[in-house]
Structures are given as C-alpha cells and as structure tokens.
C-alpha cells in the first residue's frame, strides 16, 4: 500500500467454503482493522446470500504470489507431459469391471 494510505485499514483476502467437504474458494477482498473485524466484514460483504458454511480471512500481504514472468518456467513445461493426467493411462479391463 502507498504511503498516503497510511490511515486506511489493511487489506484482507476472503475465502469461503460453499459446502461441507468442498475446498475454500476465493470470494474477494476487503479492508478491516483486525482479524475479527475482517471475519465479520467478510460475513457482511460476501456471505449475505447464503453463500457458504465457512470463512477464512488472510492478510493480503501474507500471500506470496507468482508473477506474470513466472508463467513460462512455472506452467509451460507441463503442457507436453500428458502422462501426468490420469486419462493418459488406459485402464485394464479387469479393473474397469470391478468399478
């Protein structure tokens, strides 16, 4: 955050769990004075329409993110390795039958 925003509350990222057993999804971000305040604000801003059953809030500055420059080294090598997908392998007939 820039210096002229010193009086502004820190930014938090909000994640919510739509259903039991489902992974948490990113909902958006908000400003809040502290963690409890962030949780309550998240409830009011992102959970007003029965969106989920759980909320996580994380200070945005605690997230380490990849940069656009990382795209090549991070993701490209995977595109020619189809054997990393389960669909690459044919399932033996005996196994198929059992399932």
């Amino acid at each position: 955050m820039s210096e002229n925003n010193e009086k502004e509350w820190p930014l938090w990222e909000v994640f919510y769990q739509p259903k039991n057993g489902k992974p948490y999804e990113h909902a958006g971000s908000l400003h809040a004075a502290d963690a409890e305040n962030a949780l309550q604000n998240a409830r009011d801003v992102y959970a007003r329409r029965n969106e989920g059953i759980g909320i996580w809030v994380v200070p945005s500055n605690q997230i380490t993110a990849s940069t656009p420059e990382d795209v090549g080294p991070f993701f490209d090598p995977a595109s020619d390795k189809p054997y990393r997908h389960p669909q690459f392998y044919s399932v033996p007939r005996a196994v198929k039958k059992r399932s």
């Binding site: 908000l30 309550q40 009011d44």
Partner: protein, 259 residues
C-alpha cells in the same frame, strides 16, 4: 387502559407491539447509515443490521395482527399509527449521532435483546417462540459486532476513546427504561409468553460493565437521572420526525402496491 378492563389478548398484542416498535424504530434509525457508513464494509454491516431489525419488527407485527384478527397487517402497525401509539423505547428513537453513538446504542440494545430473547424463546405460544428463535441468531451477531466495536473504539485512538465515552455518557439516562415493567408484562409472564426482565438485569449490567471496563471506558452512574414513559407512549421530540419520514409515502399513497 385500566387494569380491570384489559383482556389477556389485548395485553399480548400490546406486548408484541412493544417488542416490534423497538425494532422498527431502531431499524429505521440504523438504516440512515446506508450510504453514509465510515467505510464500505461497515456501511454494509449497518444496512444488514437495519434490515434484520425491520424484519424482526415485521414478523412481530404480523403475529400481533393474527392474534388481533381485525384484518390489519404489519404495514398497518408500522405506517398508520401516530407517535403516542408507538411504544418503542426512547433509546431506539434517538438520532443516529456519530458512529460511536450508533455503536454504543446498538451494544446496549443488542445485549439487552439477547437476554430477553433467550427467555422468550421458551414461550408457550409456539409460533411466537419460533419467530424468536429465528431472530435470536441475528441478535447474537449484532451483539458480537457491536461489542467488538465498543472494544475497538474504546481501546483505540484518543479520538475514538473520547467519542465512545461521550456516547455512553449521553445515552445513559435512557437505559433504565429497558427494564420498565407493568401489568402487561405481568399478565404475559403469567401466561408463559413473556420474559422476566428483572431476572437478567444484574447479568446484563455485568456484561455492560465488563465490556466498558475492557474497552478502558468509565461506566457511567447507574443511579443518575433516568428518562421514563416510552412504553405508555411518551416520547422525545425525535419520534415525530422519524415517523414523518417513514410514514409519509405510505400515507400519501395508502393503496399503492408493487404490482
């Protein structure tokens, strides 16, 4: 109304209207923050709370109308009664003030409502108890949210501390009315539908004192001069203004609907 002539049914309707009026008027007050909140997130929180309160009022008015059985609906109670017929607490009608004042009032009201609803949820009237149980969840949230803000403002900056202390000092003379009881309460309590306010007075005071102390605030004097009269229709000058604003449109177009 004299004590000889009042029926149990009339008493129950009065009881429900008192509960509903508190929530309608406070909801209308809190809604004034919509678009004026100190930050976007709190703007939404306050608007949510206002809507919750108006929803609580609406359900209680509806229940009162059912019991009354004269073809009235919740709109009738909200829009077509005059100030002397409203029995809300003066605490609820006071202007919204600054954010600290709104928070101080909300904390006092929500903490009181919490104890009150914890008792009302055991009401014999199942429909009433159902309404109460549903709304209690929201009240718990209002209490948590407003209590946290009392702590944050009290133990915050010099400015926020000053403002929230002023707010409690200013509002203090309206807290005694929370525990006002008369024959209406006695009748309803005897019927198994009421909340015994005296039973939680000390517990409520303890919660308020502990919260204020934790927030590094001074608890104002419980024995100072206290206002009274709202349950019998005596109000501050602020109620007339809020009703004028709230009722104007409905009274100008009494038959208007959304269709």
């Amino acid at each position: 109304m004299s004590s000889d002539t009042i029926t149990r049914e009339q008493a129950y309707i009065t009881y429900l209207l008192r509960l509903a009026d508190d929530r309608l008027i406070l909801g209308q007050r809190v809604s004034e923050w919509c678009g004026h909140g100190p930050v976007l997130e709190e703007d939404l929180a306050l608007a949510n709370m206002a809507l919750d309160l108006i929803g609580h009022a609406s359900a209680l008015y509806g229940h009162a109308a059912d019991i009354e059985g004269e073809g009235h609906d919740e709109d009738y109670f909200a829009y077509f009664r005059d100030d002397y017929e409203f029995t809300n607490l003066q605490l609820c009608e006071l202007p919204k003030g600054d954010f600290a004042f709104t928070i101080a009032r909300q904390f006092l009201f929500s903490s009181f409502s919490y104890f009150q609803y914890e008792r009302l949820k055991k009401a014999k009237d199942e429909q009433f108890a159902g309404i109460i149980k549903k709304h209690l969840k929201e009240i718990k949230y209002h209490l948590r949210h407003s209590r946290d803000w009392v702590l944050r403002l009290g133990d915050g900056t010099e400015e926020s501390h000053k403002r929230i202390q002023n707010a409690f000092d200013e509002i203090w003379m309206y807290v005694d009315e929370l525990f006002y009881t008369d024959q209406i309460d006695e009748l309803i309590l005897a019927d198994g539908n009421g909340a015994d306010l005296i039973s939680f007075k000390e517990e409520w005071k303890k919660l308020v004192e502990e919260t204020l102390t934790e927030a590094t605030l001074t608890v104002p004097d419980w024995d100072q001069f206290m206002m009274s009269g709202s349950r019998t229709g005596m109000h501050t000058e602020h109620l007339g203004h809020i009703l004028a604003q709230m009722q104007f449109l409905r009274r100008s177009h009494p038959d208007a609907d959304w269709k």
